[in-house]
Subunit: 433 residues, 2 copies
Amino acid sequence: MPVTSKPEPLRLGLAGLGTVGIGVVKIVQQHADMISARAGRAVVITAVSARDRSRNRDADLSGYAWETDPVALARRDDVDVFIEVMGGHEGPARDATAAALAAGKDVVTANKALLAHHGHELALVAEARGLALRFEAAVAGGIPVIKALTEGLAGNAMRRVMGVMNGTCNYILTRMESAGLPYEQVFEEARQLGYLEADPNLDVGGIDAGHKLSLLAAIAFGTRVSFDAVELEGIGAVSIDDIRLAADMGYRIKLLGVAQMTGRGLEQRMTPCLVPADSPLGQLQGGTNMVVLEGDSVGQIVLRGPGAGMGPTASAVMGDVIDLARGLRIPAFGRPAASLAAPVAAATTAPAPYYLRMTLLDKPGALAKIATCLGDAGISIDRMHQYGHQGTQAPVLIVTHKATRDDMAHAMGRFAATGVLVGAPVAIRIEEV
Amino acid sequence: MPVTSKPEPLRLGLAGLGTVGIGVVKIVQQHADMISARAGRAVVITAVSARDRSRNRDADLSGYAWETDPVALARRDDVDVFIEVMGGHEGPARDATAAALAAGKDVVTANKALLAHHGHELALVAEARGLALRFEAAVAGGIPVIKALTEGLAGNAMRRVMGVMNGTCNYILTRMESAGLPYEQVFEEARQLGYLEADPNLDVGGIDAGHKLSLLAAIAFGTRVSFDAVELEGIGAVSIDDIRLAADMGYRIKLLGVAQMTGRGLEQRMTPCLVPADSPLGQLQGGTNMVVLEGDSVGQIVLRGPGAGMGPTASAVMGDVIDLARGLRIPAFGRPAASLAAPVAAATTAPAPYYLRMTLLDKPGALAKIATCLGDAGISIDRMHQYGHQGTQAPVLIVTHKATRDDMAHAMGRFAATGVLVGAPVAIRIEEV
C-alpha cells in the first residue's frame, strides 16, 4: 500500500466491441480517475479488436491500436490483460484466449460457454504459468457472485447453490403469468423484443443457464467443470395452466438451477421447478437474476441483480480488471485447477415434493387408482385438489410429500395401466428454498 | 499459483472467545483441509485471548497459547493476523488493535463500533505500514457486502447504498405487524429472547445499524467514515397503527439506512422509512439483513442473508482471513485512507414522498386547511384516505408527492395554527427502492 514510485498502468487488450465491449470502453474512459484511486494504478485500454472496423460503435476508439485478428491482439506486447467479450465457445474466442495465456497474459472473459466447455483446461494452462483467468461477467451478469462464492464464502463447505440465471426465461415465465398468455405467444414477443439469442435454444433450452450453473458448481464443490453432466430441461413445455394452478397453490414456476453434493455424487440440474411464491426466488420478476448460496457456516445468502446488459456485464468485467490491477491472483475456480476432483455425477436427484397435474376420467375409483400407484411407489400425498369437471373429465392436482425422481417415474409409469388417465400427466419438482 | 516450496501457514491470534470467536475456532478446526486447498496455505490459530480462562466454551482450545491481555496477544511473534472479535469501541479492543498494527500484524475485525469511531485513523496507520485492516464481519454479518462494494463493484460510481442491517429491529417491526402487537410488548419479547444488546439503544436507537451504514458510505463514496454525521432515528416511536395503515397502502415500515452523495453533500440516514411491501426490502422478514447497492453501471444489486450469529459472522471473518492467506491486500476502505475526502454532510435530505397520519376534528373545511398548509409549502398530495370516524375525530392518511424534509417540516409547523388537528401528526419518509 505505501507507494514508492508511480506504478505502471495496467494495459488492457479488448477483444470484442459489441454491447459488453463498448460498456467496458465507457467505464474505462469515464471513470479513469476513480479506477486509478481504487486500483492504486491507472487502467488503460491499449488495443482492441473486432471483425468490422467501419461499424459505428458510439464510443471513441481512436486512441487504441486496432487488430482485426483477436489472436494478434492477444499476443501484443503492449497488452497485460486480455479481455475476451466476443462469445462463442470455439473458434476465435477459444483460439485467442489460448493465445493470450500462451503469451503470458492474464485473461478476463465474459464467456460462459467457453468456460463451461474448456474452463478446466484453460485454468490448468493459466495456473501452470502463474496467470489469472477470471470470469465474473460469465455468471449472472452484474451480480458479483463468483467473488462471493470464491472469496467471501471461502470459509464455508457449500451445501447447495441455486440460481435463476437466464433473464429471458424468467421474463417469459413471469409474463405468461401476469398476462395469462401461452408460451408460444410470449416466446414470439421475446423474440421481437430482441431478448433471445440467435439460437433461442441457448435461452429457452436452459443451455446458457446450465453453462453458468456448471461454473458455480465447480467452485462450490471443488470439482472440474462438467457441463455435460448438467441435467437440462428447458421451459418450452411449461404451460399457462401449470403456471396458474401452481400460483393457486402458492407456488411459482422458475427455470431453476440447482447444484448440490449428495452422498451419491454431484447433482446439477437446470430445470423448471416450483418454488414458494413468497420466497425470494418466487418473487423474482422479469429479466432479473438471482443466485442463492448455502454454506455450512453462513446459512443462506441471496444475491439479486441484473443478469445481462451493457452496464451490468461491463461492471463485472471491470471488477475482475481492478482485482488484477490490485494484484489479486487466485485460481480460476478458487483452488488450483490441478487439484479439482473429477465429479461423480449423481445418478438420481435428492428427494423432493412433486406437483402432479393430470386429467382423469370422471368415474368411481379413478382417483383411488392413481393414489394406489403413488402409494405402491412409496409416495404419499400431501395435498390433492380436483378443480371442476370438464364433461366426463376431472382435472386433478396433487402435491406429494418428498419422493425421489425414480420413485416418481415408477409411479407415473403405472398410471397408464389404470385406464383412468386422459392424456399425459405433468410432474414438476418442488424445490424447497 | 505455481508453488515451488510449501508456503508457511498463516498464523492467527484470536482476541475474544465469545460466540463469534468460537465460531472462528470451529471453522479453522473443522475445515483445515478445505481452507488450505482454497487459500494455498494452511491457516492455523496459534494463540487466543479472553478474560476468563475457566469458562466452558464448547471448543478445544488446548492447542493454543493463552493470553489474558489482548494487547499481549497482538504483539506475539507467532501471530501474523490479529483477529479482534471482542467488541467495544474503546478500551481493550481499540488498544489491542492499535498494538497489533504497531507490531506489524494484519488485522481482521468484526467491530463496527470501533471502525465507525476510529476506522479512519486505524486505516491510516495500517496503510502507512503496508498492513491490512479488514472488516467484512462488521457489516451485515454473513453477507459479503464489503467485498461486493470494495471489489466486485469497484468499476461503478455508486449512487446509493441502502440497508436493513439490524436484525433485532427488523424482527421487532415484522413481529409487530404479524402479531398485531404494540412496540413495547414486542421489545420485551425480544429482550427475553436475548435478541437485544446489553444497551438496547444500540439496537432500537439505530446506533449499531448506523455504525454499519457509515462504513458502507465511506467505501461507496470515497469519504472518511463519519458516523457522527449519520441522521439517527430509532424504532421506538413506530406505532402498530402506522404499521397497519402503511400495510393497507402497500408499504412496510423498516429501519432503513440510506447513504447517497447529493449535490448538497453526503446524506447518511438510519431512520424508519416506508418501502413498497412488494420490494425486496419490503419483503424482508425477521432477523435477516439486506443491503442494496446501486451503481451507475451495474444498476441495483440486492444482497440478503443472516446479519448475526456464530456461523454467519465467523464465515465473514474467515473470508477476510483467507483473502490475507491468498495475499490479497487492498486498502480498508477501497482506496488509500490518506486519499479519502472529508465528507460534506448534506444539510437536508433528497426529496421523497411522505406518509402523513393525523387526526382531524370532524368539522367542515378541516381537511382543506391541512391541504392548504401542504400546498403553501409546495407539497402536492398523491393519495388521501379518511378511514372512519371516531366520535368527533377523523383519522386521515395522506401520501404526498416528493417533498424535501424542510418543506415538510415547514408545512407541519403550520398545521397547529389551523386548529383542526388532534394530537401530533406522524410523518414518515417513503424511500423509493
